[in-house]
Symmetry: C3
Subunit: 659 residues, 3 copies
Amino acid sequence: MIDRLLFGGDYNPEQWPDSVVEEDLCLMAQAGVTLLTVGVFSWALLEPKEECYRFDWLDQLLDRLHGAGICVDLATPTAAPPQWFSRAYPASLPVDVHGHRLAAGSRLTWCPSSPDYRRAAVRIAGELAERYSRHPAVRMWHVGNELGCKNMLCYCETSAAAFRAWLQERYSTLEALNEAWGTVVWSQTYGSWEEVQPPLATASWSMPAQELDFRRFSSDAVLEGFKAERDAIRQHSDLPVTTNFMAASFKDADYFRWARELDVVSNDHYLRAEDPDNHVDLALAADLSRGLGGGAPWILMEHSTSAVSWQPRNLAKGPGELRRNSLAHVARGADAVCFFQWRASVVGPEKFHSAMLQHAGTDTRVWREVCELGRDIGRLAPVAGTRVEAEVAMLWDYEAWWALELDGRPSRDIAFLSLVREWYAALWRLGITVDLVHPSADLSGYRMVVAPSLYLTADDLTDRLSDFVAGGGTAVVGFFSGISDENDRVRTGGYPGAFRDLLGVRVEEFHPHAEGAKVVLDDGAEGRIWSEHLHLAGASTVTAYAEGFLAGQPAITRHAHGEGCAWYLSTLPTPARLAATLAEAAREAGVRPPVVRSSEQLEIVRRTGAGGSYLFLINHGNREESVQVAGTDLLTGVRHNGELILPAGAVSVVRVQQN
Amino acid sequence: MIDRLLFGGDYNPEQWPDSVVEEDLCLMAQAGVTLLTVGVFSWALLEPKEECYRFDWLDQLLDRLHGAGICVDLATPTAAPPQWFSRAYPASLPVDVHGHRLAAGSRLTWCPSSPDYRRAAVRIAGELAERYSRHPAVRMWHVGNELGCKNMLCYCETSAAAFRAWLQERYSTLEALNEAWGTVVWSQTYGSWEEVQPPLATASWSMPAQELDFRRFSSDAVLEGFKAERDAIRQHSDLPVTTNFMAASFKDADYFRWARELDVVSNDHYLRAEDPDNHVDLALAADLSRGLGGGAPWILMEHSTSAVSWQPRNLAKGPGELRRNSLAHVARGADAVCFFQWRASVVGPEKFHSAMLQHAGTDTRVWREVCELGRDIGRLAPVAGTRVEAEVAMLWDYEAWWALELDGRPSRDIAFLSLVREWYAALWRLGITVDLVHPSADLSGYRMVVAPSLYLTADDLTDRLSDFVAGGGTAVVGFFSGISDENDRVRTGGYPGAFRDLLGVRVEEFHPHAEGAKVVLDDGAEGRIWSEHLHLAGASTVTAYAEGFLAGQPAITRHAHGEGCAWYLSTLPTPARLAATLAEAAREAGVRPPVVRSSEQLEIVRRTGAGGSYLFLINHGNREESVQVAGTDLLTGVRHNGELILPAGAVSVVRVQQN
Amino acid sequence: MIDRLLFGGDYNPEQWPDSVVEEDLCLMAQAGVTLLTVGVFSWALLEPKEECYRFDWLDQLLDRLHGAGICVDLATPTAAPPQWFSRAYPASLPVDVHGHRLAAGSRLTWCPSSPDYRRAAVRIAGELAERYSRHPAVRMWHVGNELGCKNMLCYCETSAAAFRAWLQERYSTLEALNEAWGTVVWSQTYGSWEEVQPPLATASWSMPAQELDFRRFSSDAVLEGFKAERDAIRQHSDLPVTTNFMAASFKDADYFRWARELDVVSNDHYLRAEDPDNHVDLALAADLSRGLGGGAPWILMEHSTSAVSWQPRNLAKGPGELRRNSLAHVARGADAVCFFQWRASVVGPEKFHSAMLQHAGTDTRVWREVCELGRDIGRLAPVAGTRVEAEVAMLWDYEAWWALELDGRPSRDIAFLSLVREWYAALWRLGITVDLVHPSADLSGYRMVVAPSLYLTADDLTDRLSDFVAGGGTAVVGFFSGISDENDRVRTGGYPGAFRDLLGVRVEEFHPHAEGAKVVLDDGAEGRIWSEHLHLAGASTVTAYAEGFLAGQPAITRHAHGEGCAWYLSTLPTPARLAATLAEAAREAGVRPPVVRSSEQLEIVRRTGAGGSYLFLINHGNREESVQVAGTDLLTGVRHNGELILPAGAVSVVRVQQN
């Protein structure tokens, strides 16, 4: 949409006197700011009493920003309703799993199904859109903020009624509901719709399929709210509408369903501060952001210049880390790099969250790095609109995540995100770029598809994955995949029910490990967390268990299927072994990293468009690395033809010579 | 009652289509199933609306099972009331210690004191009994399921009123209540009965004796529910009535009081999966099951063929483990071996709980082991009705457990179950068979009585244990025993007040250890958790403390008393030292294991009856062991006369030659 | 007020029959008891029904105590309202942060803002004062007990209304409140006072300044209750009124505000049993007790002869520990040594709390040590009324503690009490006596002022501390000090905003450490928890960081300012390094310990008065130590002139020869 990359952040001038805003505009120019998100927490200011609006301050602000040449992403302020709202509509406050209504006094204090909240949110969104749809500063709409972050699962009576309506839509009859939920198991058969409730705290476990449907419903309910605000905006404006996701860290939203309703995907990403490999997790989040939008460029709506304020220990970033982080997002498809927030607050819960402009002001390392980054972002204009190339898809399904972690699973060590992170990290270290896609996605463009512990699968995936392999693709499937259907009903006859034929194996029993226990494999590596009693049914053994009563039984298998091949891992090998297996499968599949690297700490991703192909090279290690490449570095203007030396911590973006 | 051992499990055909039930009957025959528990979670099916009954499916099921030669243990379905019930009687839902009412949607969603629940439960129990009391398949009644497991302690208004009535029965006057509870201590003296409540969450600690009485009341309240259902059944049937306990893992029920109301004791036992010595804990549970029934044969109503579904990590059993587990229960008095459940569910919270028939079907190790076990159980028919021989009693009192763990105790490291397990494990390793009996039991048949940390004791135990020793018995008492009376009032003048004279010691002060701290004893062993400043008052020192300011003071003492001898342990010695002390006391007492063993991993128990004497030999180790024995192995038919070689993991049951 | 030290404890004869009270009086004489606190939990006895009083038992008790020559500290019984009160006034029960009302059944079951409770408390206090103000036994009044211990923060509607009134008093206008709380940040601007609530559980974080004000309000609300009872007493009596604090362990009360309303400070101190250096924590608590009273002698109202009953593991004291503990309190300004309690209870939640008279009776080590201590206390009469000498002040501010630990702080490893303990322990090991004073205190009498992590500071402290240093004093400031103002608004422009000029440094960014991570300093020591990116602005570097990207940057600095000097520590050095820095600063400041010692385990404190100067020497080590001193040991009567040999664990109190 725009022929450059955008740079900026959240701007909350309402926290500051006018003189500070004046100073801000100067400093923004200095930093190269081109995009600001405005109004995220301004409801009380915009509508100090119900249906009494005050837009004067926002009129002036938008005029000033436009005067300064800054584009505005105008937010509906609906993440945080004002105090007057909560007091007037106390039933709009969310209720927790124990049935306790929360108090006002923070953000996200609303029940997603509240009609009062919906009406008020749509109204203020419509007012804003009507007033500002033609304001020249406004370039995009931003609905709410991190939707559902703390209020996704509401158990109030209103939510209960909405849940029932959603279930009636899904199942039509109570018989179908009872069948889907398996209510017969503990004599929980419903005789009337009125009996159906959210899975409130009860004496023992709730029905797992009820929990699963409640998550589906809740994600849909928040999405409905988004759509209502979006539609109110569209009555007045045809600018793109977005909302900021928290992809790869937030469990409660089915972002694949949500993304279909957005004009452009936005994501907020914050490093896990105490994880020394948190740049790998960043890459995962970026790849998922891209995947949610079907590969299109996306917006990095929030990240931090340095420390955040909500982790147990909020570590500051080291020199150059901000640049590596930001450009890694761009490498993986971001066309905008934004921060929370422009200027650090001095009051409120987030006052120790870093910002583009820190408490200590401009004579700081962070400010200098922000200004340098602003210049870098400017130099990367040619990259705008290009797309990332990937030959490997990893399947990601929020419903499978939810189902995997329901009560009564075989081991608490089986956690979706940690397993996905293990597999993703192995591929990252191999230098293989991965698309994170929904299982329903078209797989035909990939050479390899991997599925780590995709517990719940729709029936059609069985054939689709089989066809993919038969047609020459490679599939690599991890244990506890394809176990249950969409209602969390176990597929019997040997695990993994959905993929047994494709994989050419039959698992008769899971063997979760005791805490921390490992099993030795016959190649000397070890398996963690989980083993299985597995029989070959067409596959051949790649690696076998070497101890315990499974000694000699297959642990990792390979099955030729049609033109392709399907691998199965019945344990979680140690990282090096996991990477080796994936490397072997990728090699067979013909997957190759973009460039030969001298170190696995050298992150390399390619973005390509009509105008050219750009190699992003990011050295996360503490040694100088070199790469063979021919082209021009966009950041420095230097031409390379042969060896490019990349110092520790450095980044290059090379426009590759077309052969 | 029956001249063979029974074999089977819970059967829930309502989860399956008719074709599966047909297959089940064939497979049950193959496995040797002779007993099934039916109807545990069928209330919604049997009574889909209040007082509208549907028995047709159960009529057919019982007919088919009878046709297949299978005995039925028919359950009242009262563990899980239907949704319609909770909706019609919301006051029947239990309330937690914070005063929050739980929601419906699971099992055990009922207040034990609810008159609505009681009426409905008695009604459905009576309906079942009336209809099926003469059905030839039905051989036993099974009330509810794991009674009180999640709903024992209810704090609702109905429970409060019932608690007050129970207290009026116990104390007659408010003055007696105030005296018993020590309400004067924090100015909590009651002036009227209406002021008395359950120990709801309050600002600081509740009165300990109030907590204790609330546990007594709650156990009694659930027991009253059992009795009401039992009596409704007895109006129509004189078949035995049982309910399944969770002995040695469940704290909330006073099973010694409960057992008096059952016709036969049943127990559910599940391994603590991550404990490598969980077979010792199994033995403890089995011995307690036998003790609850006064030594009579009992029913192993539930255990698992492999993994359960509710532990943090649900480990599968290894080859042969199922057989060792099942036959260890038989060795210790079980006359029936049953599982939860026949066929693994594919929906609901327990779908990953192992079953006789796993998800993977019949071509599985588990199925083959189940079938082999069924044959073994058949071969052990002569054992039915015989009794276990034990020369040692260990005292177990639920009230003492409750009292020991009330607020304000000297150390959180003092926990009833873990201390009992330590002492039991020492005896198990010595090969000494133990009866677990209530302190009020007749002790005259034993050579030795042990009491690890029996904190609260009735006044009469002082004389009874003294008489036992005076008459030639040996008593071994652990620290923090005999401290308080039945109202948890400390006995003054030197600990342990109840046993000071018997033991010939006077303890002036407890010395709980810092976390993990140990004290060296003068024989080089160590004491854990606890020491005491102890003076001899007739006893002699066996072992003294060797460090700290207690250095040189007695740690373990021995006191000759009448014809017998009383030992006292003022610390918890390391396991080997604890076993050595118990071995020495047992040797003096004339206690001998049934057979000389080559390894402490060789579990040996004797069952004896009119028809003969049977040695159960179970090799839990990983080496072949040998025993000198003369007799015939019931499982193989092989005659032994001298050395019996028992491979690692194997089991023999030898009918011993009578001399 | 009295020319001797007092000795005694809490006495609860209502728990015992009359014969025991008779015995008590004999044993009290034997132990040298001179002071008893009576009536703490007697409300139900004194007022068994509303406004029906029974004083006969207390009349007799006071007469008997007076006859025995014992002074009485007469308590209002308001810590624990009777059951009838809670039942008659259920709205007086406190409500927790989730909005749940607690039940009666314990102590401290009252909302501090309840008018019903206030009325009843004032009434019983007035009745007692009227009846006993002229009783010759009564020498002091004791309001309630450990006020606010479990009920300080109440969130009920009554508290909410009182909170609003308190806020109106503080801020006058809603605009000022919105400004102070920074409500604009998350759109929480209040439009009417009715919207303002306590910080009840809400969806995300509450406003930090709201939390802070709620703590201020709550502390004030409990204090108001104290004042109301005090004033009721003063209508009838001019005897001193006190209440027992829990200084240095209790966070919720602003004891500096409270102390102004007391006639004499009283403190309860209990060892942290599992901390091997708990005598250092004792010293801290004693110094704070003295500081709260502006240096005046204070009363050790409660401590324990041995174990307490409420810690996870309640360790007994070793031989001599009781004496060292008690005399260490006296050394630091206590003029009375009292225990909870005289006779160990046999019922109730505190029955395993040690007492002067243990369960085991008089033939115990504890009893002998109590009697010896009673004699010691008698011999220390000359010490009464003297004052402790200190050249160093450490700043302690409850508001700063509260603010430091609000949500959203940079690291959870930053905790006020643990940081203060680190600094205090370093000074203790150096043998430097410290006054713990409020930041508003007159600092002119000190040579050195230290402030470890004094996060929130009033504006005037900036100048006052600067003036102190300019006038020749030494200041030592720890990281995260002076960050925010009284409304928790961050001071910008470089940390630490309040002290930047004084310290001659500018911090651009905090660098909290990952869990357990340390940073090496250039003198080989290490910094824990926290580092900073710090620039010199007048100061010079004492120690620099030696690794990471801060390598070479200053870590500890020193700034000459006027006649004095200001040190800054931007990390928490390992204990030895922290002590060395403080020692160096103290040496420069001219601070000297009272006497040269042979070991840092030898605690030495001086009390001085008109009549003389007394050195308390306490050997906490396990070796004999020696000191050069000339004077007479009050405990033994021995004259020393030169070397005094103090065996391991021993105590001397030497009246020093005046030169």
